[in-house]
């Protein structure tokens, strides 16, 4: 299965080709994205998972390797499907730079998920950073340029930290391979492991929108187009969650079968998650601009994800995966709905969207379903996530109990602002000129139905999650696969 590298190489070639194709760039984008989706689904059903690919023919600890396991293929499909869904919201004609950035982002998010090498991972993060900064600044006005610069400064500072961490790892362990690091991490003393982790986590937290590193989020979401918001949310965010899961839980885990962050790093991460949730919810409560509300809300959701990860139990991790998938689907529905409504009403303020829900009930009901899912109401996908995180946190300790209470309060605040918006959609409004084609209502409806399906019938999704958890529980299998140990 060496052909897995096509997932990265084909979009990069397309990035160069798009410099010359002009208006045909859009067709190229669809072709390449469909290729990536079909290719990853073919691999999913090929029956050869897990397997390991050595690039350049050099065996794992010496060269770069790509590993495809169950966790990888799950996130690979999510990232590529997100790319296609986000691409459907690109309606107007864009300049060639937009498509070049998009192709680089596509290839780099695929690379983040596939790679098994720390430096390669860093490079893909770097690539995605620059591509996203370019996409944010695409509008070329004051707001978007400022947002892009803010994001660039933050993420390049963070990438200096992570480069330092990579240097420290290479100096202490003499390797950059994920499996090899996981194999040798017990040789590290406590102090150097803490230093490396602190430096490395700081760069991952930028992608995850966690508190001290999340100043870029709101401005970037506000300043960019809806399609770019969906790129950031669906591709970069999902790949970032994969990176945290892989690196924190499988590479730097000292004992197998347990998340052990050295010292009190776990409680520090928990505090970060608390502050992120508080800032996100309160920010969204006071905001009137829909894009800003969604940005704050996705910040809060990722805070809950980090809280679940830092709890260090597998039941909580199950909840994390539920929240990841529910947030992934819900935000797509919400952004697509807001995109359509703001086109008709002419502004992103939700008070101007009064009465649109009566004319387009499909969109408004889809929005409400995803809002209920994010709040964690029973029989929606988010409920199963929140209940396993809270149920796990209540009996773990003092800090965890505070976190559980905080998540419940956050759910109430989410209920206030989301249901307020839904109510505005359905209240009496005045007549408007614009029309929304029924085709554009179809996609949010399907995604909302998926949320409902997962919520009502969680067993179907539970099977997938248990496969993923099995992989996270036993990192030694991953090590054996890549280093081909017996």
């Amino acid at each position: 299965m060496n052909s897995i590298v096509f997932l990265i190489v084909i979009p990069l070639i397309a990035a160069f080709l798009s410099l010359f194709l002009g208006k045909n760039d859009k067709i190229l984008a669809y072709i390449v994205t469909l290729f990536n989706i079909i290719f990853s689904i073919l691999i999913l059903f090929s029956g050869k998972i897990p397997f390991n690919v050595a690039i350049g023919g050099w065996r794992a600890p010496y060269g770069i390797n790509y590993a495809v396991t169950d966790l990888t293929i799950f996130f690979l499909v999510l990232v590529n499907v997100a790319a296609l869904l986000a691409l459907t919201s690109v309606r107007e004609i864009m300049e060639y730079q937009f498509y070049s950035f998009y192709f680089v982002l596509l290839s780099s998010t695929n690379g983040i998920v596939l790679t098994g090498d720390l430096f390669n991972f860093f490079l893909f993060i770097e690539l995605s950073t620059f591509a996203v900064a370019g996409l944010i600044s695409y509008k070329r006005d004051r707001l978007s340029t400022g947002a892009a610069l803010k994001y660039l400064i933050l993420s390049s500072t963070a990438s200096i930290f992570s480069l330092a961490a990579i240097g420290l790892i290479y100096k202490t362990l003499g390797t950059l391979n994920f499996a090899d690091i996981a194999n040798k991490v017990n040789n590290l003393n406590e102090a150097s492991l803490s230093l490396i982790l602190i430096l490395y986590i700081s760069s991952l937290l930028v992608e995850l929108k966690i508190f001290p590193f999340n100043m870029w989020v709101v401005k970037a979401y506000e300043a960019s187009k809806t399609s770019v918001n969906l790129f950031i949310h669906g591709m970069l965010g999902t790949a970032g969650i994969y990176g945290v899961l892989r690196i924190l839980l499988m590479v730097f885990s000292k004992e197998t079968g347990k998340l052990t962050l050295s010292g009190n790093l776990s409680s520090i991460l928990m505090l970060f998650a608390f502050v992120t949730v508080i800032i996100g919810e309160i920010g969204a409560l006071t905001e009137k601009n829909m894009k800003k509300i969604l940005a704050f809300s996705s910040m809060a959701q990722l805070g809950i994800v980090l809280f679940g990860i830092s709890l260090g139990s597998f039941d909580a991790l199950k909840g994390v995966l539920y929240i990841v998938i529910s947030n992934y689907l819900a935000k797509f529905v919400m952004f697509l709905t807001v995109n359509e409504f703001s086109k008709v009403s002419g502004s992103t303020n939700y008070l101007d969207m009064k009465g649109l829900g009566r004319r387009y009930p499909v969109l408004a009901i889809s929005f409400t379903i995803s809002a209920l899912s994010l709040m964690g109401i029973p029989f929606f996908a988010g409920f199963w996530g929140k209940i396993s995180i809270i149920g796990n946190a209540v009996f773990s300790g003092k800090l965890e109990l505070i976190g559980a209470v905080l998540i419940l309060i956050a759910s109430v605040i989410e209920g206030v602002y989301y249901l307020r918006i839904s109510h505005t959609f359905f209240s009496q409004g005045h007549e408007r000129e614009g029309r929304i084609s029924r085709v554009y209502c179809l996609l949010p409806m399907i995604l909302a139905l998926v949320i409902l399906f997962i919520g009502i019938n969680p067993d179907s999704f539970e099977n997938i999650i248990s496969i993923l958890l099995d992989e996270i529980k036993s990192p030694e299998k991953y090590i054996k696969l890549i280093l081909s140990l017996k």
Binding site: L12, I13, F16, L17, G56, G57, W58, G134
Partner: protein, 247 residues
Amino acid sequence: MRDERSLFINIVALLILSVIGFYIYKVSMDTGKGIKITDNITPQMRVADRFMNKNVIKEESKYVWGGTAENTSANIVTSVVVDYRLFDTTLEVIVLFVTILGFGFVIPKDKRKIIKPTTILNRWAPILMILMLMIGGYMFVNGHLSPGGGFPAGAIISTAVLIGVLAGRKTLSQKTLKIIEAVAGISIFSLGIASFVITGNFFQNFILNDRIGDLFSAGLIPIFYGLIAFKVAAELSNIYFEFYEEC
């Protein structure tokens, strides 16, 4: 009149350079370390002989060269950069590509008055440009034999374009640069796909069995370095144009 004079100065510069080149060649032949490009008479010394025998640990210790793909390149650093970690190197080039593409978005566009370059710079620019191109070319051609390689070579070649920009001479249009960039980028990855078709692994060196230390050795490494050099040069030159036209 002006063009004729500049043509004359260019011819004089070329003559001076060819004299310098001839003497370099003569000295190298006299000292026995000749520059042999073809291999019809087996030469005593290879191009990278000095580099291969060089070591930093002990006077008498020496590298042992096998015939495998791992040590086709006389310069070990090049082996690491363009063979073991070729994928990382190509991604670095893409990082440069993306940053420069996004550059035009972030930099504000105000018109500024451009100061006319002095006559001295204008006249001497072609000579300096030829020197820069020669050094840059040497760097990437010899990347697998001695320290150097694609990235520094590309930077040096792009300084030739920079001098042209400063001297107010039209050297390359931005469209040409774009084409160079895209062609080099696409061919790097096409070579990767070609090696997938031939050997079954991406970015594997599939031209083997050549003599270590020769100018034409190390299989794909010099080709990759050349492509990287052109790509880096085109990208950096793009930045200069961007600054010059938009400041």
